[in-house]
């Protein structure tokens, strides 16, 4: 019994001494060496880009750590409204109801356009279709067209893939492609659209399933799927998405990518955002397959 008690007390002492050490070291750190953190939540479209920026920025300024999380544009903006995050990433602009909720919570959202993105329409590599008009894509996704043969493809049932409703990509697609930019249009996604939780899911299903059609940000398209050329209507030329076609406003399904802060940012957050809008960070934008806001 004595020996066991001795061991128990020794263990407790060791564990406690670990605690003591921590408090000692924290009083030794001077404020100059303190690591500050900027938190960044939101769009899954932006998450890889935000991570690349965060890593590069940390290389340049090692005492600033930036944490990046995904979850969807809706998640990021909700976090900003609840004052849980420094910067919210969004692949769609903030809605009026969200601005209202933010102001009720004492938050004043400030918008920064940090990059541009094109939405690519993807199909299986074996699908014979190469080009579609916006009207056709809208009809496919709203359920009016249900078989590939109706638009010149094989006799297969169309399987529509989409991101979840909390994704900015989803909302942008709804407003600009299904509703074709008309704010009075009430068309919805067809109820049998598959809402997949990630871009990886969409790519995996499209790569494997010849019946599938999906959409996603240009930065997420892999060579395993085929990108469709899109035209605003059947008399215009069909354009493939790329950095050039987005910057020259030729590709019809393009959007701005945003970062939102609570009122005008100061200090490290302001410096970070200024760095993002400068040519060095915009070069990273091109590397990841998005479209820079300035020519790097």
């Amino acid at each position: 019994m004595n020996k066991n008690q001795y061991i128990v007390f020794a263990l407790i002492f060791v564990l406690l001494s670990g605690c003591i050490k921590e408090t000692e070291s924290s009083t030794e750190i001077t404020p100059i060496n303190q690591i500050s953190t900027i938190s960044n939540i939101g769009s899954d479209t932006l998450v890889n880009l935000a991570l690349a920026w965060a890593e590069r920025y940390h290389e340049l300024y090692p005492d600033i750590e930036i944490s990046v999380t995904g979850g969807g544009s809706g998640t990021g903006i909700a976090a900003l409204i609840n004052s849980n995050v420094d910067i919210a990433n969004a692949s769609r602009s903030i809605k009026t109801e969200e601005i209202q909720q933010a102001e009720e919570n004492g938050v004043d959202p400030m918008e920064f356009i940090v990059a541009k993105d094109a939405i690519a329409i993807i199909v299986n590599l074996n699908n014979p279709i190469n080009q579609l008009t916006i009207q056709q894509i809208s009809d496919i996704y709203s359920g009016k067209i249900i078989n590939w043969s109706e638009i010149g493809g094989e006799d297969r049932e169309i399987v529509r893939l989409s991101r979840e409703t909390n994704s900015g990509t989803h909302v942008f697609f709804l407003d600009n492609v299904i509703r074709m930019g008309d704010s009075d249009n009430n068309t919805l996604f067809s109820s049998d659209t598959l809402l997949l939780p990630s871009s990886e899911g969409i790519t995996a299903e499209t790569r494997d399933n010849p019946n599938a059609i999906g959409y996603d940000g240009l930065g997420y398209v892999t060579p395993e799927v085929k990108v469709i050329a899109v035209a605003p209507d059947s008399s215009s030329p069909y354009i493939l998405p790329s950095a050039e076609s987005v910057n020259s406003d030729q590709y019809p399904i393009a959007r701005d990518l945003y970062m939102y802060t609570d009122s005008q940012p100061t200090g490290e957050i302001a410096e970070y955002i200024n760095w993002i809008m400068a040519p060095e960070a915009q070069a990273i934008v091109t590397q990841l397959g998005f479209v820079p806001i300035v020519k790097p």
């Binding site: 909700a78 609840n82 409703t165 939780p197 995996a204």
Partner: protein, 296 residues
Amino acid sequence: MNKNWKEFFLNWLIKISGYSAIIFVVLIFYFLLREGLPAFSEVGISDLLSTRWYPIEDYFGILPLIGGTIIVTVGAGLFAVPIGLCTAIFISEVSPRWARDILKPMVEALGGIPSVVLGFLGILILTPYIRHLLDLPTGLSALGGSILLGIIALPTIVSVAEDALDSVPRTYRDGALALGATEWQTIWRVTLPAARSGVLTAIMLGIGRAIGETMAVMMVTGNAAVLPVKIDSFFRPVRTMTATIAAEMGEVAKGSTHYHVLFFIGVLLFAISLGINIAASTAMFKQRKRAERILS
């Protein structure tokens, strides 16, 4: 004097720990109700019972979600119960001692696999296979979800049923065999009916596990909120209540209508799980009393 004080203190500590389980459940239920009941006043029963679920445009019909959960759970039951029972019978009645010592731990190991890993394997292997095998438009369907949920519920069913079968006294089997019954007749007509309540408990616990499963179904069922009323619907995408909460809870602003409706769905799930667990434990306690009566 010291001893009595220690006794009292330990007694009190154990009582608190025991009651705390009940208190936690009650508190959770209260919190869910508090956040979920406003859904009735904000949305109204008839809208809640409509058939379109599209929360970002204020369509809050939860019937497709309830239907999705039911069809996937029923499918999982159809898959897991026969296989689980047969496995349990094999392990406890038919297999030799050495095989039993290998099989039981392996079934437990199957139960230890994280469900998200199974979901991942489901997307990569199971769903393309289902699509090829049954010539479906897509493998992301209630069928895929059911198979995966069946695999997840299987270890629970096998474990508990096997324990129930094991606890049937040897005298039952010896008596049947002495009267000239074959081994199968003994199992089917004597042992299994004697372990009836334990086996029922096993089935209900397995199904309770299947109802609450989130990650695996979210990755594999396609998440399309369609009301699954036809037989065909089993081979088409569905959306479960658990996947809805998981996918959408991140984006809701606290206190919004969507938030309340999601909590209401949580209340429903909680009530169903609680009901199944209460039924299962009542059955289990009944079995003990019967066994005690017969043996004494």
